[in-house]
């Protein structure tokens, strides 16, 4: 670069150089509005439909400029993770850093290219704005800073969960999923944005944001303490919960080009429960137990999740609780319905042990209605909770379904569950493992029995000959996607859209199952009325048929007099929202009221315990 001669006085004509500026274009900007740059960070836009009200923008805002405002006319749908809260911006605080845009889990909030807003003194509140799709002044002036894959700040990918390969797991009942290591759990927990959608959607409103945060901080005991606030079946739910929380997770919301996976909330719960020693869990669970005795006595019929949760709550409040269980062990459907490879018994035993350690007494092998009558219970106790679950399977009632080799899935699972231990072998069973079998039904129970029998087949005959068929199309199967995927991996054939017509018998033995192709399942009014294409007939040559099309409660235990006394609704016991029946000393909870689901049963247990406690405190 040339050195300048600042010492040089220069010519006297130098000032004349300035004349050249008359010929130059002025450097000043032209008057009039100037369009902002394409990624300008101007006033906010918010897509009201896309926004789920998760308030993550509020959390990242470094100036506390965002307030979540309730918009009453918008949809509030906690099950699907949608709240009717929307961000309102205080432009007296906003610094237009656009971190709210970069972190928004759904990409709803964006910045526009609009940058001018003025007002006079009495309109100062016009700086507090609820952003809409149309922009600050209702005149959309194009999008500015938006979310792209580069500036997205969230970690969208779930940590892969280690599990056994189909070959490794095909012939045994070992637990498939490995669970997180501490490092993996902390990483997975760090993805959480603490929106609380999981808490809202959970039937028992588990404090998932709090325990995820605790896991992230490395404090598993705090996590367990949060879990026992709302769920004494956390070992079970950490393994087999239907995880509504994950469906509602903000990070599960579709519509982003890069895709997004929810936090593995269920596996995190499992991790924290497994990480804390059992004795310590007992101490943590007992922290909120009162020392006072109320003197009230409650009987619970059925030691499943609903009954034991209610017992857990009531014991905590100082009541005396006696649980009666018809079978040899506690757990109900979680023990006698869910196979070992999904939920090992010792995990269930731990949950039950914590509840028993709180002071709940359980008597096994006592069948109410047979060993003790309901009248007797009424006489001996202040309240009775009916939590008997759904113990008998529904039948298709097709010709041949009365045959002895046509089983109900729940009954067969119960027989498997009664003999199983770590080393499940077919020799222990009280029935012969069929060389070939077909399961009718597309739900999780169908998958459970199909996969269990397939394991025994592999053990005994070294080959799987198992078919699962259902009336629904594959995409409408009620079973979890992962169950279907793993069933297929284990060599099970799944044949959707087939309606069973007849169990073909020959010489007193099952020869085959006859099915027709389903044309439609529901009629124009949405009622269940399957239409079949009779020309498309298939026969599956099998030795055993298993029906897994639904379950029913066994209400015979109530006895004639009580049955008469109670109110019924379409053949089902009439139960109020809080679990109370029409008789003032009887409550009902769990699957027999709400249908099969562990976490719903737990929620129901809490509800009933609260209702009973309230009734007692009124009496006192």
């Amino acid at each position: 670069m040339k050195k300048i001669k600042y010492d040089d006085l220069g010519s006297v004509l130098n000032p004349l150089k300035n004349l050249q500026f008359f010929a130059r274009k002025p450097v000043t900007e032209p008057l009039g509005p100037r369009p902002a740059a394409e990624i300008y960070r101007g006033f906010h836009l918010n897509d009201m439909e896309k926004c789920i009200g998760c308030s993550t923008c509020q959390k990242i805002c470094d100036n506390a400029a965002i307030t979540m405002v309730k918009i009453p006319h918008l949809k509030e749908d906690p099950v699907n993770g949608i709240r009717n809260l929307r961000p309102a911006i205080d432009y007296g605080r906003c610094c237009w850093c656009a971190l709210c845009v970069d972190i928004c889990p759904v990409g709803a909030i964006e910045l526009s290219r609009e940058y001018v807003h003025t007002c006079n003194g009495d309109e100062v509140d016009s700086y507090f704005v609820l952003p809409q799709e149309k922009g600050m002044h209702g005149t959309f002036e194009e999008k500015g800073w938006t979310k792209t894959e580069t500036n997205d700040l969230l970690d969208r990918k779930r940590l892969p969960m280690g599990e056994m390969t189909p070959d490794e797991r095909g012939d045994n009942f070992d637990e498939i999923v490995n669970g997180f290591t501490p490092e993996q759990a902390i990483l997975e927990a760090s993805r959480c944005v603490q929106c609380g959608m999981c808490h809202d959607s959970c039937p028992t409103h588990m404090h998932a944001p709090e325990y995820i945060r605790a896991i992230w901080k490395g404090n598993v005991e705090e996590a367990v303490e949060w879990m026992y606030e709302s769920n004494p079946f956390s070992h079970v739910c950490g393994r087999v919960c239907t995880h509504r929380c994950e469906s509602a997770c903000s990070l599960n919301q579709a519509g982003l080009p890069q895709g997004s996976e929810p936090i593995a909330i269920r596996w995190l719960k499992r991790y924290a429960m497994d990480a804390v020693p059992h004795e310590r869990i007992k101490e943590i669970a007992a922290r909120k137990k009162t020392d006072q005795k109320t003197g009230q006595k409650i009987a619970v019929i059925g030691a499943g999740p609903a009954g034991l949760t209610a017992a857990f709550d009531l014991v905590k409040q100082g009541h005396e609780v006696q649980v009666y269980e018809a079978l040899a062990k506690a757990g109900g459907m979680t023990r006698y319905g869910i196979p070992y490879y999904r939920l090992p018994d010792d995990m269930l035993d731990r949950d039950v042990d914590v509840i028993v350690s709180m002071g709940v007494s359980i008597q096994y092998n006592i069948r109410i209605g047979k060993d003790i009558s309901m009248e007797q219970l009424h006489k001996d106790y202040d309240a009775v909770i009916l939590a008997i679950g759904l113990q008998s399977g529904r039948s298709t009632r097709i010709p041949g379904s009365e045959h002895e080799d046509v089983h109900s899935a729940v009954e067969l699972l119960r027989r498997i569950g009664s003999v199983r231990d770590d080393m499940n072998t077919a020799e222990d069973l009280d029935f012969k493992v069929p060389h070939s079998a077909v399961v009718i039904g597309g739900g999780n129970v169908a998958m459970d029995i199909g996969r269990s029998l397939a394991r025994y087949q592999k053990q005994q005959y070294n080959q799987v000959n198992m078919t699962i068929t259902a009336i629904d199309a594959l995409e409408n199967f009620p079973a979890d996607d992962v169950e279907i995927k793993e069933s297929l991996e284990e060599g099970i054939t799944i044949i959707p859209s087939r309606g069973p017509q007849e169990v073909v018998l020959e010489n007193g033995k099952i020869k085959a199952l006859k099915t027709w192709r389903v044309e439609s399942v529901f009629d124009a009014d949405g009622r269940f009325a399957p239409q079949y294409d009779e020309s498309d007939e298939q026969l599956y040559d099998v030795e055993m048929v298993v029906e897994a099309i639904g379950q029913m409660a066994e209400m015979e235990l109530l006895g004639e007099q009580l049955t008469e006394q109670l109110e019924w609704q379409r053949g089902r016991l009439k139960v109020a929202e809080d679990g109370a029946t029409s008789v003032d000393w009887l409550w009902s909870a769990g699957d027999c009221v709400n249908g099969p689901d562990v976490v719903h049963a737990v929620a129901d247990g809490h509800r009933v315990a609260e209702s009973i406690n309230k009734a007692f405190s009124v009496q006192r």
Binding site: M1, I4, K5, Y6, D7, D8, L9, G10, N14, K17, V27, T28, E29, A36, A37, E38, I39, Y40, R41, T56, K59, I60, D62, N63, C95, W96, C97, A98, L99, D102, I103, L111, G144, W145, T148, T150, N151, L153, L154, D155, L187, A189, S190, R191, C192, V193, Q194, R213, W216
Partner: protein
């Protein structure tokens, strides 16, 4: 009526008087004040008075998430905010051992140099205005605005860019940006003669700035002065060359030096530096398209980001001198401590106070602008 115990205070006969300039005064850079003791036109002593803009940046940062601080740091130097963002990110990356993609490093250097140009243009105008020449300040601001247009296009913000993030930069450069940058550099070079004629060789200015506010090399080193103010005393020290960061090692540029250490030398160093930055940007325009890859390495969810336990001291060369951050993490989701070594904090207090002594009152403002003092760097 006077109270009974009233006594007349007799002061010694003196021509001295006090003058308070600032905190809102055209002769003061930013929100800063100066208490002068004068005898006629001559300064007897001066006392710098900071604190008019104190927001407690360093303390604020301890209460905010690591990522939220990105929105605070550029405010510590308004005319030259990019080095603040970059050096904060550098310290976090250093503690976390984050690898910054090469492309992001090139983009960062591009911003740093463009920011230097914008800052120097501002200073030319300010310095000239303190001598009564207002045209350079209009020109400087107008030409700086063109650089801000480029920043707006690149980052979405004109003044506070908030574009650098630990791990890289927030977005890739827009299409055609380098062409427009190149046009701007062409334009700046055509303006070189105009600025020389108007300011740097203009005897009205030269005679006014020469031998005023002299700082010798020994004093400069003793007081910890860095940047153009140090280089105006003849020492070619520049962090970009002497302790290279990002990709400065791959770039070819000179360190302009002057020897007199007066107001004129300082502005001439800045003039030369501006065109060295143009030279650097030309190299970046040539190389950047061939540097492929991502512009950001992923960081964890910022709401649950525990930066590893550790500490880091990183420095860069800002338009004011050596700018450094000392960041300490106790392994939490917020910094334990962030200390900002603002380049101006060295020359805006003691140097300014000492250099004003014996000068005439009309030169005090010139000295402050010639040092390019940035009060928020003192008041952070």
């Amino acid at each position: 009526m006077r109270p009974e115990n009233y006594q007349v205070v007799s002061l010694p006969n003196s021509d001295e008087y006090e003058l308070f300039i600032g905190p809102n005064h055209p002769g003061i850079e930013g929100n800063y004040a100066f208490k002068l003791k004068l005898d006629g036109d001559r300064v007897i002593s001066g006392k710098a008075d900071a604190g008019y803009l104190h927001r407690g940046f360093e303390k604020l940062m301890e209460g905010r998430l690591w990522i939220q601080n990105l929105a605070i740091v550029p405010r510590i130097c308004v005319p030259d905010p990019v080095p603040m963002e970059v050096v904060y990110s550098l310290t976090v990356e250093d503690i976390e051992k984050t690898e910054v993609p090469l492309r992001a490093q090139w983009i960062r250097v591009m911003q740093l140099e463009l920011s230097r140009i914008a800052s120097h243009l501002f200073t030319f105008g300010g310095h000239a205005a303190t001598t009564g020449m207002y045209t350079p300040s209009y020109w400087g601001v107008a030409d700086r605005d063109l650089a801000l247009d480029l920043f707006e296009e690149l980052t979405g913000g004109r003044v506070y860019h908030i574009y650098n993030i630990p791990g890289g930069v927030r977005r890739d450069i827009p299409n055609g940006f380098l062409d427009r940058l190149s046009d701007y550099l062409d334009y700046l070079q055509t303006r070189q003669n105009d600025y020389d004629n108007l300011l740097f060789t203009n005897q009205v200015f030269v005679k006014r700035a020469r031998d005023i506010g002299v700082l010798n090399q020994e004093q400069a080193l003793e007081w910890g002065v860095t940047g153009p103010n140090l280089r105006a005393t003849g020492l070619a020290f520049d962090v970009r060359r002497d302790d290279p960061y990002l990709i400065y090692e791959q770039l070819d540029f000179d360190i302009p030096v002057q020897s007199a250490g007066d107001c004129l030398s300082r502005i001439l160093v800045r003039r030369d530096e501006l065109f060295q930055s143009v030279r650097i940007l030309r190299q970046i325009i040539k190389h950047l398209p061939s540097v492929k890859g991502p512009v950001r390495s992923p960081i964890p969810n910022p709401l649950a980001w525990n930066v590893a336990k550790g500490e880091s001291y990183c420095r860069v060369e800002s338009s004011k001198g050596e700018l450094a951050y000392y960041t300490v993490s106790d392994g939490g989701d917020k910094p334990y401590r962030v200390h900002v070594r603002g380049a101006s904090s060295m020359h805006a207090v003691q140097v300014l106070e000492n250099m004003s002594v014996g000068q005439r009152i009309e030169d005090v403002a010139q000295i402050m602008f010639s040092l390019d003092a940035c009060p928020p760097e003192v008041d952070r």
